[in-house]
Structure formats: structure tokens, C-alpha cells
Symmetry: C2
Subunit: 535 residues, 2 copies
């Protein structure tokens, strides 16, 4: 037992080692700049991550600078830099993490599987053991906290793996990581490998056994959990599960699985503050430009969304019928009962109430009938559609929302257009038979349209999140824009509302989406002023 | 043993039950129309799926019609309709699947867990057992192939679950499904439950035990696999893992896990033709409008992409160093070595060769240096960038590609604009100091831009896939358009090329992306004609 090493103090504490900034950054398309990396590192510390793998300092001068800057700003997490088993790599890594002081770690790796030895390294077993031992011993002269990874461990002969692990522990490694580099492991098999090492390597219980799983077969979380049950006490993972190929073990999934299934992980704990998971996920999505699929576990848009009528019915009686954790426990703002063709009458009634459109029982039946007809035609029924339905079905009037009558945009860009792009939008809206026309300029046509819509409706607002997806395929594909906007009316407090729009023309779809958001805020606040002055 | 029941014939055959059209369609945002459902059903049959759950016929007239139409067109898969344990539901489901003849199945469910009994159904145990038994017995008078699901089975008291399962088997159910409705199961625990049922229910080995897992804790695939090892012989799953909340077990992951880890699944087989997985995934993405995250296992854009220099180096020596299955085995066109800051010199050289830009060893060093500088600034280095680098660094000339000098678009839409939207784009391009200007109209500004670019460059083309993602966040967010286009030059054969563009203005980014694609095809074909006539 090494008393200076925090993880060993509590045998039931599983350390969370986040490698979003290293393995995650290796996701094609995910490179981040220095400011972005510092922001993610701060978020990871606030999330309660024990170790932050900040980068691979030898890879480039920018990587080195990022690891160093993260080490400098760090407050409580261990800051780790990656290095091959080469003196030059280790020097750079040690230098980069040094500002973290007692919280500095160097993570050294060397491939050990037969296929990597033969094809990548062209080295025999004895050479591998020697290089690993010498690398750790050398690193130990620079930094006390050394982690070693035999790359492709899950495909390495167990007896040779034990030999390498023994050598690096003897040389002073404090953490030995057993990576499933290629995502090949199967849970029971992987747990057996951890057990094998624990029974065949002397002194292994004085170091932390770590696991690092890739998701090529969809088993990264299950493999990590199986290893924890076999005695691993560090899990390497990333926010949103990003990383090389199919990515790494997802931090949010592995942490919440241990928490929700505490019956299977008796006494086990992590330092993660789960209420910060959703925010961390959003930040990483935004910075990396790698959006999640809607059904991503824990943090996806649909993770707490219920569409089927049967589920919605149960959820309204007792959320535990279909939810094993609360959205709040992972920082998700609210359970989302999405209205679609599978939704029941009760869910519709509840949504209308939320929109301030409570109707009587008899009227609800009428609205529900009209809703079912509409839902069979539309993929999703938006709040704007519901407002229109209630107006038409219950009140027998046409709906009093802004409608787009005419949209014209013109824009110029390119070097020949002078400095910066310039666009103009002309918009004509109608409401209750009145017509208002106005124009505005912007960075591009969408920006100009939003400014014109703000002018006409008297809303002050900006777009916070913008997504486009194809709804149909082929040449004449319809695109759906969904956006989240922060809107204020007549100097009032700003509220965040969503809006959607569908068109073959992106600019047109964006205009409809923003107008949808404006119509919702009008109903949420209970009024919408006319700006007749501009007409 | 029931000799008429195909699954029981081969004890090692795991039936794949696809519920993309039922549970998958319940993903918020995923509703599909009749034609789309028929197309997916045809694709599922071609993929070799054993059972297609086509819908929930009582839910709406459209659902009924879809199940019936799928039953009518079906050629080899069992077609299944879902029903609550109610006579009306069962009648509708049986009527809908009838056209499938001997391949017709009705799938009946009833919740059995304490929380569902109390809060959703308000029924005691005896009532549940009676209702389940009677529902199966009634259905059996209409259709021979009955499947029964005790909803929320994984949270049901095992002894009561065994009682319900015994009752429905005695009443004639041929498949009993043990769903993990809320995604709560843990693999070893779930396997124990299957084993418990196999030892406590008489005659259970004469029926097929099925599993249906949700992914709320990221364990759907692991749970399904653990159940198969415990004796389950049907796995319910969906293409891309879509479904309620965090979705269902992903078909492609569970099938490939059993195939890649055949050492863990000795003798086990499925009927899935894995080479069709990628195509099926693309179709479902396109129809549902639910894009996958890039690191989705098996079928995501990055599943076979390698960015780090170390991985790229290994991959070029022997793909098995980092790939446990070939892209070809799941129908993915090609392994994707994405060039970015982590890429090595060898990967750059290989990509230049592919682009027809082979350079000598000394020149490669120069290009690599310039590439590293560029890669530190850019998230991804596109082929267009490489072409420019080679021209500048090696040939000392400015690159001979089309460059955008000026872009002007104008568009009108809305009811007040007359029938249909109308847009005009004016584009000025330069190449080798020459300037060409032309204009075209289109459905929207992007469409008009593409037509104008086609005119100027003499390319005949159309966009096949279009994606937009935010690269930076906040009000002045940069959007990156990536598209795949089918382009032909001067009446030649069309080739599919990708292109990317970045701008604060979506239309501008789209223009740059399409131009990027055009510049690539020019280099692929080895020439780019001037259309000076239009200048």
C-alpha cells in the first residue's frame, strides 16, 4: 500500500479517468483548440473527475501547450500526459504535466499483443518487456505518478501480459491499465483476464488496476463494469463516449450504471457529481461539433422522452413505471413527453395545460380527434400546431399567430463581394388579417431573416442552438430546421423556446422555425404585440 | 418440441426479431409513412431478419394498414403485430398479420412488475395471470404463432414472473419474451433470471425464450448477449438501436458481437447477411431522419476511421492491428483514414497517392511539414486542402482549382410569393486567373447555387447527402456543410465525391462544399474543362 496514493485509500472508490481531451480528441473531426480544451478541463474538474488525460504532448507543439496550460489551471484533478515508451516522449510529457505538482501523472504505453509486436513494432517479447521496464524506470526519475498501458492487452497472451505488468510494477508504475484497444473484449472473458492478473502478478493489489474499453461491439460499458466487479478501480472513459473509431466507454453511462444498479456494485462509489453530466455532454457536443444521436443513453435528446401512449400514461401516474433514474439526477431539465401519433389523450391534455391552453373534457375529445388525424400525417406535432388546433376546433376561429406570407432574401459573399458577407431579407407576416412587412440585413440570409422577424414581431432574440436534418431523402429532400432561441418580448425577461420548420429551402425552413418559436413565446407570455408602425 | 416451429429445429440458431417498425417507430421524431415502412420491411427481409414486428395495429388506422401491407408483400420473414391483452387489440392484430399466412404472428403483452401492476393497471397478481392466460388462449383461436411479453419482466418478482410465463405457455404461447422494458437489467443478473425461468417453468424448453432490451444504462447489447448464453434464442432489436428513450438493442451490434466473438458463442448462428448491415442502417437513418453519431459502433461514419498517427501506421501494415472485423463484412465501402493533426507522414503519402498526387520522398517531407502546420489550425484537412498544399509546396505554383470570387443569391417564398419558392444565384469563379460568371434558378438558394456551379464548371451533378453541423458555438457560430455529390464531367461517368465548406452563412458554406467536391472530381478525372462560353 502506498499511503501517498489517494485511490488506494478507499478500496471501494472507483477512479474516473477522463480521456475526452486525448482519446476523444482523436475522433476524426473532433480536434479542439487551446481555449476549448481549457474549458472542457474546467468542466471535468467541476464534474468530479479524478484524472484528466489532457493530451499527447509529443504529438505537436499545440498538444504540448494544451497539456501544460491545463496542468497550470488545474485545481484538484490529477493531470495526465500520454507518452510512448520513448525517452523523448516521456521528457515532453513530464515537462507538460509538471505544473500540476503532486497531481502530475505520465501515462506510458507499449503494445504487447502478438499482432502488434509483429506488424507494428517488429519486436520480440524480451525486447518489449525490457523497453517497458526501462521506460517506467526512466519516467519515475521525473514524475512519481506513473501509469503504464500494455496496448492491445485484451488480445495479448495472458502469461506474457502478466510478465509485462509484473515488470512495470516492479519498475514503479502506480497504475496499470489493461486496455481493450480494439474493442474486442467480452465482459466475462475480460473480467477473467483481470482476475488472472490479480492472481499471477505479485504486488498488483498495491497498485490501481485500470480499464480502457472501446465500443466496437457495443460492449465498452459492460466490459468496464465487469472489470470493476473483478477488482479494477479506475475506469478510463470519455464524455459522450467519443474517441477513435466507435469511441470509448461513455463516462455518463458507466457512472450512472454503477449508481442505478448499486445492488450489483455494493459499496462502490465514484466522485462524479451526476447532476453535471448533461451540461458536460452539451459542452463537449458543442466544442467538438460531434452531435449525439437522439437516443444516446443518459444525455441524448430522447433519453427521457416518451412517445407511446402506453408509456405516457404510465409516466403521468408514476414516473418510475418507465424511468429508472430521474432526468434531474443527471442534470436534464425535464422529462419530455413528445406528442406524436402514439400519444394518448391524457398526454395531449397535459401539454395543452403547459401551453396555457386548458380545455374542458368534451373539447379535449374533439381536439384529440383532430390531433390524431394530423399526427398520422406529420412526423411530430409541434406546439404551434396544437395552438392552431385548439383555436380551430374549440374556438371555431382561425388561429391568431404570425404567419409567413412572403420571404425574399438576397445575399453576396466571396472575395469579390468586398469585406465580409452581406445579406438582406424582406419578410411579410400576417396575423388576424393584418399584414406587416419589414427588412433587415445580416451576416448571411438566415441571420438577416431573424433580424427582420425580430423587427416585425417586436421580439428581441437570438438563436442558441441550430440543427438541420433531412426528413426525406433524394434530390428533393425536405430539410427540418430545429432551433432553440432566447427570446424576450417588449423589454420583458428572455425565455428559451424551441421552434421547428420544414421546407426544401433551408432559409425558408429557418424562417418558419424561428417564427414557430416566436409564436410559442407569444402564447407562453399570453400576448403578442403588433408592430403596426412598420407596416 | 413443436416440429412446425422453425426456431426449435436448430437449437443453436438465434432468431433475430426486428422491431424497427414498432418500437423503433416510437422514437420521438421517427414516425414513418406507409411507403417508407414497406421499403424498410423489404430491406429487413433482404437482410435475413427472422421476424419483423411491423407495428401496433390497434394504435391507428394507418398502423393497421401498414402491418397488413407488410404482411401482404412479405416473402420469407415472420410478420408480427403487437397487441395489449385485450380482445379488441388481438382481433385487429390478427386481422392485420393474416395475409402472411403461416408466417403470421401476434405478440401480446401485459405488465407484470409490482410498480406497473399498482400504478398503471391497478390489478392484483391473480388478475394479471388470468388476463394473460385468457388473452393467449383467445389469440390462439385466431393465429397459431403467439408470442407473449410480461412487460417490465426484469423488475418483476421472479416467482411471479415464472407463474405468468407458465400460464401463457400452458395456454399455447410459442415464444415468451422477457423484456427489460426500462433498461434496468445488468448482464449477469439478467442471465440468472433466464436460468431461473428455465429451471422453474415446465415445458419452457419447448418454446423460444426471447429477450428485448433497452439501452438506458448502455447495456442493451451486453444484456441480450448474456441472455443468449443463458439459453435465449430470440433477440429483439432495431436497426441503429432506435426506439423509446435510449433505444433498443442495436441489431448490427448484437449480430456482429456474436459473429466476431464466436469463441464466446460456440456454434451459435443467425440468419443475418452482415454485408447488408450498412445499407440497412443508411436507409433507416434517411427515412427516420434520425442521424447516427459519428462513433456509432459498426455503422457510424467513424466506426472504421482512424485518425491517430499510431493507429494509421499500424493499419497500413496490417489492418488487424486495429480492426476486429473488416469494413467490407458489414457493407461499409472503405476504411477511412481521416487526415488531421494526429496523422503521420505515411498516411499523408497514401492519401496523396489515392488522389493521384504521388510525390517523391523529399517532397513528401516538405508537404508533411506544411500539412502539420495547417492541421494544427484546422479541425480536419480536406482533400481540397491537400491538392493546394502539393501545388504550393512541391510545384511552387498557385493551385489550379476553381475558387469562389463572388456569390449572390436572392430567393422568395411564402404564400405571397405565388406557387412554389423561387431563388436565383449569381456566382463568379476564378481559376488560373480566368474569371467565369453565371446565374441559375432553383427551389431555394442552395439549389440555385448548385445549378450555377454546374453551369460554370461544366459538371452535371446532384447532391446525394447533405449535413450541417455547428463547428463553433454561440451567436456567431460557424457552420460546416458536408455533402456527398454524384458528379459527371463532360458526359463522362458519374462518380460520388464528398465536399466540405465552412462559413457563418449556410448558403455560402453550401457553395464552398459543392465547389470542394467539384475540385476533387477534377483531380480524380485528371482535368477540368473551362466553360469560357459563359464568361
Amino acid at each position: 500500500m502506498n499511503p501517498a496514493h489517494p485511490p488506494v485509500r478507499d478500496p471501494n472508490r472507483v477512479l474516473i479517468f477522463d480521456t475526452t481531451l486525448r482519446d476523444g480528441e482523436q475522433s476524426p473531426g473532433a480536434s479542439m483548440n487551446l481555449g476549448e480544451k481549457l474549458e472542457i478541463a474546467r468542466t471535468l474538474e467541476a464534474l468530479g473527475v479524478d484524472v484528466i488525460e489532457a493530451g499527447f504532448p509529443i504529438a505537436s507543439p499545440d498538444d504540448f501547450a494544451a497539456v501544460k496550460a491545463i496542468a497550470e489551471q488545474s485545481q484538484r484533478s490529477i493531470i495526465c500526459g500520454l507518452a510512448r515508451s520513448l525517452k523523448g516522449d516521456i521528457d515532453r510529457a513530464a515537462e507538460a504535466v509538471k505544473p500540476a505538482g503532486a497531481r502530475a501523472r505520465v501515462h506510458i504505453f507499449l503494445a504487447t499483443s502478438a499482432i502488434h509486436r509483429q506488424y507494428k513494432l517488429n519486436k520480440v517479447k524480451e525486447e518489449i518487456v525490457k523497453q517497458a521496464r526501462e521506460a517506467v524506470a526512466y519516467a519515475k526519475t521525473l514524475i512519481d505518478d506513473i501509469e503504464f498501458s500494455p496496448e492491445d492487452a485484451s488480445r495479448t497472451e495472458p502469461d506474457f501480459l502478466a510478465e509485462v505488468v509484473q515488470a512495470v510494477i516492479d519498475a514503479g508504475a502506480r497504475t496499470v491499465n489493461i486496455p481493450d484497444t480494439v474493442g474486442y473484449a467480452y465482459p466475462s472473458d475480460y473480467a477473467d483476464l483481470i482476475t488472472y492478473l490479480r492472481t499471477h502478478v505479485k504486488g498488483i493489489d498495491n497498485v490501481v488496476i485500470s480499464v480502457h474499453c472501446h465500443n466496437d461491439l457495443g460492449l465498452a460499458v459492460a466490459n468496464s463494469l465487469a472489470a470493476v466487479r473483478a477488482g479494477a478501480r479506475q475506469v478510463e472513459c470519455t464524455i459522450n463516449g467519443i474517441g477513435e473509431r466507435a469511441g470509448n466507454c461513455s463516462l455518463e453511462e458507466v457512472v450512472m450504471a454503477m449508481r442505478v444498479r448499486k445492488d450489483q456494485f455494493a459499496g462502490i462509489s465514484t466522485g462524479v457529481i451526476s447532476q453535471h453530466l448533461y451540461g458536460a455532454s452539451r459542452l463537449v457536443q458543442s466544442i467538438t461539433g460531434l452531435p449525439l444521436q437522439r437516443n444516446k443513453a443518459i444525455v441524448g435528446d430522447n433519453a427521457f422522452a416518451h412517445e407511446s401512449g402506453i408509456h405516457q400514461h404510465g409516466m403521468m401516474k408514476n414516473p418510475e413505471t418507465y424511468e429508472i433514474m430521474t432526468p434531474k439526477s443527471v442534470g436534464v431539465p425535464d422529462t419530455n413527453l413528445v406528442l406524436g401519433k402514439h400519444s394518448g389523450r391524457a398526454a395531449l391534455g397535459k401539454r395543452l395545460e403547459t401551453l396555457g391552453l386548458a380545455v374542458g373534457e368534451a373539447d379535449l375529445n374533439k381536439v384529440f380527434e383532430a390531433f390524431k388525424t394530423l399526427a398520422d400525417k406529420k412526423k411530430e406535432v409541434y406546439d404551434g400546431d396544437l395552438i392552431a388546433l385548439v383555436e380551430e376546433v374549440v374556438r371555431g376561429t382561425t388561429v391568431s399567430v404570425w404567419k409567413l406570407d412572403y420571404l425574399h432574401t438576397a445575399s453576396a459573399s466571396g472575395a469579390g463581394a468586398g469585406t465580409g458577407a452581406m445579406a438582406t431579407a424582406t419578410v411579410r407576416l400576417t396575423k388576424d388579417g393584418k399584414t406587416v412587412t419589414d427588412a433587415a440585413t445580416g451576416d448571411g440570409p438566415v441571420d438577416a431573416v431573424i433580424s427582420a422577424l425580430n423587427r416585425i414581431t417586436g421580439v428581441a432574440g437570438m438563436v442558441e442552438d441550430y440543427r438541420l436534418r433531412a426528413v426525406t431523402k433524394g434530390g428533393d429532400a425536405l430539410g427540418e430546421v430545429s432551433l432553440r432561441a432566447k427570446l424576450a418580448l417588449g423589454g420583458g425577461e428572455a425565455v428559451v423556446v424551441g421552434g421547428k420548420g420544414l421546407s426544401t429551402d433551408i432559409v425558408h425552413a429557418s424562417c418558419l422555425a424561428y417564427l414557430d418559436a416566436i409564436n410559442r413565446i407569444g402564447y407562453q407570455i399570453g400576448r403578442l404585440d403588433y408592430r403596426t408602425a412598420a407596416s
